[in-house]
């Protein structure tokens, strides 16, 4: 779980790094921090959701081969989804911190 949180945090951090110019532009044209944070958190959730659905799809396709061993209850699935969501939100903190520090002057050339 820690490992996956770190990986998600790194992915979101890298995605945020790639978007520094856009973030600077948003700040320059007057978007409030909550808009920018919202975008990052949205990305994080999308990422988590994709990962979760991919995982769920994999598990259900393998279930036919191991019918007795992997019996995933609906409740377990929901719990896992919730955990994934929390991990993503926590992990996006790093990206948010970076985004809040971006200097709007970065949007303008040298």
């Amino acid at each position: 779980m820690t490992v996956s949180a770190v990986i998600i945090a790194l992915i979101i951090y890298t995605m945020t790094m790639d978007k520094i110019r856009e973030i600077a532009t948003l700040k320059l044209i007057g978007a409030p921090d909550r808009t920018i944070v919202g975008m990052i958190v949205q990305q994080a959730i999308a990422l988590g959701l994709t990962g979760f659905l991919l995982g769920a799809a994999l598990i259900s396709s393998f279930r036919t081969y191991f019918p007795r061993r992997v019996v995933l209850q609906l409740q377990d699935g929901l719990a896992l989804a919730a955990i994934t969501l929390v991990v993503c939100l926590v992990a996006s903190g790093l990206g948010v911190r970076l985004a809040l520090r971006v200097d709007p002057a970065k949007a303008l050339g040298g």
Binding site: E22, I29, G30, P32, P104, A107, L108, G109
Partner: protein
């Protein structure tokens, strides 16, 4: 367009100074610069590298705090030895439009959404924002690209979308950073024509930082900076 002294300037800087560092490392990027820009005017900020053009533009954009001086934007005192406005982003959203060297459109939004976004940030409903965004794109001659993603339009078209975004909230002040540097001279001409049109029709003051001598004749006035000083002001009378 005759600029009479009776008109109130939209940008008024008085003795703006800005230095970076202290002692041996001190750099005076702005020394007692005073300039005014009036409604309907498009002015150039030019000078050699390191002369302080970006510093001045950043001060006007309220993203760099001067060391001293006074600044009025749209008849409001914004800076007088310290910032007098708390929320400078809201101030920019309402009063200042920006045009960049590269359009700086958000790559994950289409042309209309890019323009509509700043309208929604300023409090318009999504439907209103959408309607005005499309109108603006049509006004700038890129109505046919309204659903296009930034990556799929040409440099000149992207710059027009960016101008639409800059004027969306009807700012009285538009700041442009090398707006034609990435365009060929024909497209640069079109972009400058549009900017002049916006200045006149919206009664806006447009400040352009540029190295591009081909467009210098489009400015009503040119402020020449050197070593942080305002060296001279050239009037291009009668060009509008």
């Amino acid at each position: 367009m005759p600029v009479t002294s009776a008109t109130t300037p939209l940008v008024a800087l008085t003795n703006i100074s800005k230095h970076f560092g202290e002692g041996d490392t001190r750099v005076d990027a702005q020394r007692q610069v005073s300039i005014c820009v009036y409604p309907g005017e498009i002015v150039g900020l030019v000078g050699p590298s390191g002369s302080g053009k970006s510093t001045l533009l950043n001060v006007i954009a309220c993203i760099l705090e001067p060391s001293s001086g006074r600044m009025l934007l749209d008849d409001e005192l914004i800076y007088d030895a310290r910032w007098l406005k708390r929320d400078q982003r809201k101030l920019r959203l309402d009063k200042i439009g920006f045009i960049f060297q590269f359009h700086n459109l958000l790559p994950f939004l289409n042309a209309t959404e890019n323009v509509a976004m700043v309208l929604e940030l300023a409090g318009r409903t999504p439907a209103e924002a959408q309607r005005r965004a499309v109108e603006l794109l049509e006004y700038l001659g890129v109505g046919n690209r309204k659903n296009a993603m930034p990556a799929t339009v040409s440099g000149g078209e992207a710059q027009r979308v960016a101008i639409a975004r800059a004027m969306a909230n009807r700012p009285r002040i538009i700041l442009a950073d090398e707006p034609t540097a990435a365009l060929d001279s024909q497209r640069a001409g079109v972009v400058m024509d549009l900017m002049s049109q916006v200045a006149v029709e919206q009664r806006a003051a447009i400040v352009v930082v540029s190295h591009d001598e081909k467009i210098f004749n489009r400015f009503n006035r040119i402020f020449y900076l050197r070593d942080g000083y305002l060296e001279r002001v050239q009037e291009n009378g009668g060009s509008t």
